[in-house]
């Protein structure tokens, strides 16, 4: 059995090992790029959201690589994501591909067992426990490397050094197959990244919180490499509210801390959105609410065109940001978004943040009454 799953950022690293350790052969399609999106666009419904189109392209790539089973999460949610698998597999079948589809989500353990039994056989429980622990360790290691990388990018002396190092480390992590090796690699990665040479003067680094739709935040192919460019080119420390680790482990109940975090986020969101909308709206709203308090200079809200939960957040965020006095930039991504346009808007936004920070520091320094600087500038 050759099982494939669509990409989402670095999620393929833990997922590949999970599939492998369960006894199936993983097929990982190429990392998504422009061509993947264009392939997806050919066959996807015109008005589906962007992640649908890219993941459809991923599935096509995987089938061409010889996959005979496609896995996808699905569920009875308020948002479209729950139906991705169902509709995508229907489209692929109509295109003449033959494969087995495995849709996970919202079932009782017994159902999951029934789906997995043909793949893993009777040794499943033991195998599954081992597979999950490697999966978890890998996900945690990826998370650590990514987080460290976001800190290093604006600080490193030689631009791009930490990125090169990290991609080497991640490649080796992808190849590691036992829990011991993963743990060792994680330690190694920590040391290697600590050795990257950093600038002395780092007080001027701005911090931006990134909120928005999961897939757009995590997949560089979709957000035009936003996270890396903010770090390397604009020298800004970015912190997304979501990560691969959080998404993979929270839904699998493998890390109770994440559940607590989600519950807290829901509680903060309640005055604005008392009901669940089926997306990541609680992380978006709570991330914006706490941004100022947690020392961020601004918030960037990124989402795909026509995304329902984020569109609703987009309606609420301007007011929240006005109340909390934190600047906001909304970026809406679709297949026509031009990198130039995004860069221009980022530049303007960052200029605004700089001048705000300067005027604040000036105020603190002199103690005199400061001009309420750029607070009235057109944030969008």
């Amino acid at each position: 059995m050759k099982m494939a799953f669509p990409h989402m950022g670095n999620a393929y690293i833990p997922l590949r090992s999970l599939v492998e350790n369960l006894g199936a052969e993983p097929v990982v399609p190429d990392r998504p790029h422009r061509g993947t999106l264009e392939r997806g666009l050919l066959h996807a419904p015109e008005f589906a959201c962007l992640p649908f189109k890219v993941t459809l392209g991923d599935c096509l790539n995987a089938l061409d690589k010889g996959a005979d089973t496609l896995a996808m999460v699905s569920g009875m949610w308020a948002c479209r994501f729950g139906y991705y698998g169902r509709v995508q597999h229907m489209i692929l079948r109509d295109l003449g591909y033959e494969f087995q589809s495995v849709l996970f989500g919202g079932e009782r353990p017994a159902d999951i067992w029934n789906k997995l039994k043909p793949v893993v056989g009777w040794g499943a429980p033991r195998k599954a426990a081992g597979a999950l622990s490697v999966f978890r360790a890998k996900a945690a290691a990826v998370e650590e490397v990514e987080a460290r990388l976001r800190e290093l990018r604006p600080r490193e002396v030689r631009k791009g050094e930490s990125d090169r190092l990290a991609s080497r480390l991640l490649r080796r992590l992808d190849e590691a197959d036992t829990l011991r090796k993963v743990r060792m690699l994680r330690g190694e990665a920590r040391e290697a990244l600590a050795e990257v040479r950093c600038r002395e003067e780092t007080d001027d680094i701005l911090r931006i919180r990134l909120v928005g739709e999961l897939y757009v935040l995590l997949e560089p192919a979709l957000n035009l490499d936003l996270v890396r460019r903010l770090g390397s080119d604009f020298r800004i420390e970015v912190q997304p509210v979501l990560s691969t680790y959080k998404w993979l482990l929270c839904s699998l109940w493998l890390d109770p801390r994440l559940k607590v975090e989600a519950v807290k986020a829901r509680r903060l969101t309640r005055p604005y959105l008392p009901y669940v909308l089926g997306g990541e709206e609680h992380m978006t709203v709570s991330g914006t609410l706490t941004a100022r308090r947690e020392g961020f200079d601004g918030v960037i809200h990124a989402y795909p065109l026509t995304c329902m939960p984020e569109n609703i957040c987009r309606t609420l965020l301007p007011k929240i940001c006005r109340e909390r006095d934190v600047p906001l930039l909304s970026l809406c991504f679709d297949e026509h978004t031009s990198p130039v346009g995004v860069t221009t808007r980022l530049e303007a936004f960052i200029d605004l943040l700089r001048s705000r920070r300067l005027s604040r520091e000036g105020k603190r320094g002199s103690g005199a009454y400061a001009v309420p600087a750029a607070a009235t500038a057109p944030w969008d």
Binding site: C79, G82, G106, Y275, R314, T315
Partner: protein, 343 residues
């Protein structure tokens, strides 16, 4: 805004000057207005419905909203703004979380769930909002009525009789919808004045089933008077709002389950139209930026269409869609349909 909040809370105190409650003519309005009116009046309010959507309302809504949100929500913002301008004391915005009780989760649409939040936090100068929560998954229907009635300061007895009256009115309205007329025509007949059935339900060379959410069927500005153009081209037009839940369920049981109840209704309506042989073609209307519909359209295309091979026309509406374009497409579609053998 503060004194408006007071007036809501102390409505009991000043019975003589009744609370003026505005109802935006958008979204769930086309489904439940008769009930709301009877209920609110029963609770001692004066009910003011916003007028049918016109260019001004649509423009105000488009300006107040995010660009890529669906046209139905833009219309809601426009109507809410009209009501705020008209100086009502409060605006009723229902929150339709889920409308059926099932072993699995059911929802309507994220935007219907968050409609009051969007108006409250997203509209400049938003009026006082009366929420009416329908969350059938967790609470019975009357719970929302009870809490709304209490908020209006009505006594339980009064709420009970208002509720009963509302249910009667709603029954009359739904009886009219059963004939296949569009929600706006049914509402007009309910108010009185017009008696004879609408022309498009009469004879036609062919019959066309028009499938869409109630708020698209019932808003001639948003749907560019498509009913009229289909009829002018020689078709008898039947709206998907005619099906009862039982009929929908019957169709839906044969399909994989859906958590969006209103989308299930659309999918079921298409299946029913196609299977029953009642119509010669189906027109499926959605609004641009509608999330659920983008998936459902694909299911119609790939799950239903191959089975019955009935002609299908898909129309995507937005606030810029031109009437001329819709008219041409409607005419071309009707002309292509073979004439009915029976009838």
């Amino acid at each position: 805004m503060g004194d408006r909040a007071d007036s809501v809370d102390s409505a009991e105190g000043k019975r003589d000057s009744r609370l003026r409650v505005g109802v935006p003519r958008a979204l769930a309005f086309y489904r439940h207005y008769p009930f709301w009116r009877a209920f609110l009046e029963g609770c001692g309010c004066e009910v003011i419905a916003s007028p049918p959507t016109d260019m001004g309302i649509m423009r105000a809504g488009t300006e107040a909203c995010v660009d890529d949100i669906c046209v139905a929500v833009k219309a809601l913002f426009g109507h809410a703004a009209w009501l705020a301008e008209a100086g009502v004391d409060a605006v009723l915005v229902p929150r339709m979380v889920s409308v059926e009780k099932k072993p699995y989760d059911t929802f309507t649409c994220p935007k219907l769930i968050a409609a009051p939040d969007m108006i409250r936090h997203g509209m400049p100068g938003s009026p006082e909002i009366l929420e009416f929560v329908v969350d059938a998954k967790r609470r019975p229907w009357w719970w929302g009525c009870l809490s709304l009635g209490r908020r209006l300061g009505a006594s339980p007895c009064r709420i009970w009789s208002a509720w009963k009256h509302g249910v009667d009115e709603q029954g009359r309205y739904e009886g009219m919808l059963r004939t296949g007329m569009m929600p706006d025509d049914a509402l007009r007949r309910l108010e009185g004045g017009v008696e004879e059935p609408p022309a498009y339900l009469g004879q036609g060379r062919v019959a066309v089933g028009l499938v869409a959410h109630h708020y698209l069927l019932g808003d001639p500005l948003v749907n560019n008077r498509i009913v009229r153009w289909l009829h002018a081209a020689g078709a008898r037009v039947v709206g998907s709002s005619k099906f009862t839940w039982c009929e929908i369920e019957e169709e839906a049981d044969a399909l994989p389950p859906l958590s969006w109840s209103y989308e299930k209704e659309l999918l079921g309506s298409v299946a029913r139209f196609m299977r029953s042989g009642e119509v010669d073609g189906v027109v499926y209307m959605t609004s641009f930026g509608c999330g659920p519909d983008s998936m459902i359209m694909e299911m119609v295309r790939r799950e239903l269409r191959p089975r019955w091979k009935l002609p299908l026309l898909e129309i995507v509406l937005d606030e810029h869609s031109a009437e001329a374009g819709i008219r041409t497409r409607a005419e071309a579609f009707v002309d292509r349909l073979p004439a009915r053998s029976v009838n």
